[in-house]
């Protein structure tokens, strides 16, 4: 069930209504959330339910067994089992064809018979599998590291894994934050409702009024990249940057807001990334739930293990962690390159930290703004690779936007930039707040005029219930 579809607009108030009617019985509330979450997820394809149920059962059981054992060998064995099974399932659904295609290419280069004579395997990628696999893996690793006691309550655990606001595209929650919330009684507060609805409105605005309006324009540019001029290609790449941000951060705002309606607090996933003055800062502000996951479970162990290589150990760990994070997004060389480039830039930043600090002291505000612009340009550049179907398409768009003529006007109306630029300015002034539409302290008429304006822009865009999926659903 899509957040932006009519069924969800009926489903959400219905579930929230019953949920608060049962406010004296929190276990009943959890049961309701479990049923609602499985209904929400099964709406796409009921067969996915078996996989998520199996994955939850497996990690619940393995973590329990880990908790009951004091033997380091047995605990490690159970951890490896969890890693192998979770990553095995993810690998099969997500990477089997990628692996086989590249193997076939390699074999044919050596003159050996191909492995995929009948074409790619017919595998449907279960929705949200990368997200909930990382969520359950994080739980098992935390139990292994003695950071968390294993859950003793299967209903709470299974609802934690499938909690519908964040199941399909995050935020990838940590068991340490979310699980205890299922075990505590929840009290009704009007503030939950108003805060939640406000953040959801901001998310709907970004997704429907901006991302879904830009989507056809961006699709046009990338589909016709061979014949368009440089200006159109550059504009397409720029618009995709805004589309991606509004789509994904919009999803996160709706997810966090919807969870708030049930009294839950999910972690922040975006923190106004476009005003970052370094890529390290950018990654502390973009898809925070994934970058902190990568940091805790991949980067830190690697960097600690290689710490005697000095600063080169840090650079190595960054490069590996970010290349793998690229691969997490999808089975394609474009994602690998995208992740690798970010790893390289972060490694450069780690190596040049002192020098950059000196420049910052000497140049002050000029340095800050030049850095912000460079960070933004680098993001547009790498995101074009991320968006392209394959590497030749990425080169065509990037190379074409530089080498082809900028004269003769753009294939897209420049007015498409208006709303994204207005958002960029508005969020600049909001950047120290919890989210874009956090309007605490603003006068009442201004707040309500803004809500009305956003609603008008949402309905004006006519994108509601058009079944346009969120970009991150494919990962």
């Amino acid at each position: 069930m899509l957040f932006t579809s009519y069924p969800f607009l009926v489903f959400l108030p219905l579930v929230a209504g019953f949920y608060w009617l049962m406010r004296r019985w929190y276990k009943g509330q959890n049961l309701l959330l479990f049923v609602a979450s499985y209904t929400f997820y099964g709406w796409w394809d009921w067969r996915f339910l078996f996989l998520i149920f199996g994955s939850s059962l497996l990690d619940f059981w393995l973590a329990r067994a880990m908790g009951q054992s004091e033997s380091p060998q047995k605990r490690r064995l159970l951890l490896y089992l969890s890693l192998a099974l979770n990553l095995g399932v993810l690998g099969y659904f997500k990477y089997a064809n990628f692996f086989l295609e590249n193997l076939a290419r390699l074999l044919s280069a050596w003159g050996l018979p191909p492995v995929l004579e009948d074409g790619p395997l017919s595998i449907i990628l279960p929705l949200g599998i990368s997200f909930y696999t990382f969520q359950t893996l994080g739980y098992t690793i935390d139990v292994y590291r003695y950071k968390l006691k294993p859950s003793r309550n299967f209903l709470e655990y299974i609802t934690f894994v499938s909690f519908f606001p964040q199941l399909v595209a995050g935020p990838i929650e940590r068991a340490g934050n979310l699980l205890p919330q299922f075990l505590a009684k929840r009290s009704w507060q009007k503030a939950h409702l108003t805060e939640g609805l406000r953040q959801m409105l901001w998310g709907f605005f970004k997704k429907l009024a901006i991302a879904d309006t830009l989507a056809p324009q961006v699709n046009y540019v990338f589909a016709h990249h061979e014949e368009l001029n440089g200006l159109s290609l550059a504009l397409g790449a720029l618009l995709f940057t805004f589309q991606m941000y509004c789509d994904f951060s919009g999803y996160s705002d709706i997810a966090i807001g919807a969870a708030r309606l049930f009294g839950f607090r999910l972690m922040k996933n975006f923190d106004f990334p476009f005003y970052s003055s370094s890529m390290s800062e950018f990654w502390r502000r973009w898809h925070i739930s994934l970058s902190t996951w990568i940091q805790d479970y991949l980067y830190n162990p690697l960097a600690i293990n290689r710490r005697y290589w000095g600063i080169w150990g840090v650079a190595f760990a960054l490069l590996v962690a970010f290349t793998l994070s690229g691969l997490w997004h999808g089975a394609a060389w474009t994602f690998v390159l995208w992740g690798g480039l970010h790893g390289m830039v972060l490694a450069y930043e780690a190596l040049s930290k002192k020098k950059r600090k000196r420049w910052s002291r000497q140049l002050g505000g000029t340095y800050l703004w030049v850095s912000r612009i460079l960070v933004f340009c680098f993001w547009v550049f790498t995101l074009t690779i991320f968006r392209a179907q394959d590497l030749p398409e990425a080169w065509s768009v990037l190379g074409g936007s530089l080498s082809r003529s900028w004269w003769g006007g753009a294939a897209l109306p420049l007015s498409t930039l208006l709303l994204p630029l207005a958002l960029l300015v508005f969020e600049y002034f909001q950047r120290h707040r919890a989210h874009g539409l956090d309007l605490k302290g603003y006068p009442y008429p201004l707040r309500w005029s803004l809500y009305a304006l956003l609603l008008i822009l949402i309905f004006e865009s006519d994108n509601l219930n058009r079944q346009t999926e969120f970009i991150y659903f494919q990962f």
């Binding site: 600690i304 005697y308 002192k354």
Partner: protein
């Protein structure tokens, strides 16, 4: 070992690694409070401490120090 003296020595290491001459630390200082103390510099700080005192922290405890005091406890236990 004298904790105050140790705190002064560790502060000097932090100042050097983080390139913050005026940095003032207490046993309760955490990575959240000190802007330049992030996951990247944390590993560099750990290595600098290990080198200066000729000790080795375990891979499990390194990411789990909640504040400077906990780092000092782990260090004292090895001296």
């Amino acid at each position: 070992m004298d904790r105050q003296k140790l705190l002064t020595e560790l502060t000097a290491i932090f100042q050097e690694v983080l390139d913050e001459e005026a940095l003032d630390l207490s046993e309760n200082s955490t990575a959240q409070e000190v802007e330049a103390w992030d996951s990247l510099t944390h590993v560099q700080i750990v290595v600098a401490i290990e080198k200066q005192y000729g000790i080795k922290f375990s891979a499990r405890e390194i990411p789990n120090f909640r504040n400077l005091g906990e780092m000092m406890d782990a260090l004292i236990a090895r001296l």
